[in-house]
């Protein structure tokens, strides 16, 4: 997969990418350059903007923004299976999920073809949603969930960057921190899950429960030099819900947990833990991490509920106002 033929069908941008404008820090008000993490307590998730019904040509759609993350979800179907489908009779709806980063969505420009991280996110999204949909109500049909990520903190899949494709690494990959890319993808996945649930609800597809995504990261104090040997009780664990990609000053991320959570049923539909946890009391730490992610998912569920209702409420209000005007016309 590493040496992939370059995409010749489209008019591609310069392979080395383009440089974003760099502004002098002094020209910005000091409040805007404050580290984002510091302005928010660790048990609070970032503000979520979520709205449904933006794309009129599909059954259901939603748009989500969490700080730098922007993504839109379209739900198509239930529609008949294609005539060439190799599946025999399908008593339950077939769910397909697709996650695609826009070429400009990461800090490193992405290709148009789906790469491994996009496929991975797609299958994780499938896993988190498939159990929540009442698929038995839609036999012989398929439901498609298409996620387009417009902006993210993701820094691209190194294997698939343009540099690697052409076989000449233009720069030395600098060591940032372990699991940084996964943490960015985790935040993306949690956003995908929440937004996809909103889009499914907007489509009017029956579900057992809405699935909301949650992320949490556990951090430790960073020691100068060789701090590894001191791992033990002295290290204080800091659990952060909905982490920003940059760890707070002097902290080192250990592990990240992403999950899809059905709050009304108290069920986890998808669990993704990455990183390293202490070997001494790893189970307790793991549970704490998962609990924090569940708490984050519960917080986003509140937003999800309101977003799912918002458009329906608009329709109800509209219907009531039109009937009221009709009444006055009749009496007048």
């Amino acid at each position: 997969m590493a040496a992939k033929a370059p995409d010749r069908r489209r008019n591609n941008p310069p392979s080395h990418g383009t440089n974003p404008p760099v502004f002098l820090s002094t020209s910005l008000p000091s409040s805007t350059i404050k580290p984002e993490q510091a302005s928010r307590p660790p048990n609070e998730i970032r503000k979520i903007f979520l709205r449904t019904g933006l794309v009129s040509s599909v059954t259901g759609s939603s748009f989500l923004e969490i700080a730098p993350l922007k993504l839109s979800v379209s739900v198509l179907g239930p529609r008949p299976l294609p005539r060439t489908s190799t599946t025999p009779f399908a008593a339950q709806a077939i769910l397909t999920t697709e996650v695609k980063f826009a070429p400009f969505a990461s800090t490193v420009r992405r290709g148009y073809l789906r790469d491994s991280s996009e496929r991975d996110l797609g299958s994780r999204l499938y896993q988190s949603l498939v159990g929540a949909i009442r698929r038995e109500l839609y036999p012989k049909s398929r439901i498609e969930v298409v996620v387009t990520i417009l902006d993210s903190e993701d820094e691209g899949d190194e294997v698939n960057t343009v540099y690697m494709e052409e076989g000449k690494a233009a720069f030395e990959p600098t060591f940032r921190d372990a699991g940084r890319a996964e943490r960015a993808l985790g935040v993306v996945l949690a956003g995908c899950i929440t937004a996809a649930s909103a889009a499914l609800a907007d489509a009017g597809i029956e579900m057992y429960d809405l699935v909301s995504g949650g992320v949490s990261t556990v951090l430790v104090d960073q020691f100068d030099g060789k701090g590894k040997g001191k791992e033990g009780d002295s290290e204080k664990r800091l659990y952060v819900r909905d982490p920003a990609i940059a760890p707070p000053e002097g902290k080192k991320p250990l592990a990240t947990c992403v999950l899809g959570y059905m709050a009304a049923r108290d069920e986890i539909s998808e669990l993704w833990i990455l990183g390293k946890l202490g070997t001494k009391n790893g189970t307790a730490e793991m549970e704490e991490l998962v609990d924090e992610a569940i708490a984050a998912a519960r917080s986003s569920r509140g937003v999800l509920n309101e977003a799912a209702k918002e458009r329906v409420q608009f329709i109800v209000d509209k219907a009531q106002s039109t009937t009221q005007t009709d009444d006055t016309e009749m009496t007048g």
Binding site: G77, P80, F89, A201, D209, A264, R265
Partner: protein, 201 residues
């Protein structure tokens, strides 16, 4: 008027207090909403006589914005015994293939493919039926779904008086009106063609 909306997963009441309608499911002996929408409870007939034998039916209904939206549904699928309108797309000696575009008086988002097999065309004298004298490509047919069929086709039947061709064009392309249960006449040329005609209402 205050209307409260529910979201999927929201409990609506104990399962014994209601009869589940559409848009709800039962989990842990609770009626749970499966759609975003308004809760509609319809008291059942015998419930008015202060008997607890027939609890009210509870459903969740998704409101629609326009009448056009009400007449169409993109989440609607044909089911066994639903009445459909379809357009005949191609015919052969064994079956007529049709594209279903209306299910139970509602327009579907995507057309579904169905077949009317020769033995399902009419109720009597099944072995004398010929597809070529029953349907032509382009005919609009009212039919009933008899089976979800195989991977690609719904199986349809027109074996009833009120089922069959409701709109058709003659070979010369002008519209026809039914003159009896198996013939239609061209408006312009007066030519008579054979069809399995649906009984007009």
């Amino acid at each position: 008027m205050m209307t409260s909306l529910v979201v999927p997963g929201q409990p609506l009441g104990v399962a014994t207090a209601y009869v589940p309608g559409t848009g709800v499911h039962i989990f842990n002996n609770q009626i749970i909403a499966s759609l975003v929408g308004k809760v509609v409870t319809i008291p059942n007939a015998s419930n008015t006589a202060t008997t607890s034998s027939a609890p009210p039916t509870i459903s969740v209904v998704k409101p629609v914005l326009t009448p056009e939206e009400e007449s169409s549904s993109s989440t609607l699928l044909p089911d066994v015994s639903s009445t459909v309108l379809c357009r005949i797309t191609r015919i052969n000696a064994r079956q007529a293939t049709a594209a279903i575009f209306v299910v139970n008086d509602r327009i579907v988002g995507d057309e579904f493919q169905g077949v009317i097999r020769v033995q399902d065309v009419r109720l009597t004298e099944i072995d004398k039926v010929k597809i070529f004298t029953s349907f032509r490509p382009g005919d609009i047919v009212r039919a009933r779904v008899i089976s979800l069929g195989d991977q690609s086709n719904y199986y349809l039947s027109t074996a009833s008086n009120e089922l069959g061709v409701i709109m058709a064009s003659s070979e010369s392309g002008d519209s026809m009106y039914p003159i009896n249960w198996r013939e239609m006449k061209s408006v312009r040329t007066g030519a008579v063609e054979e069809r399995k005609v649906a009984k007009p209402f």
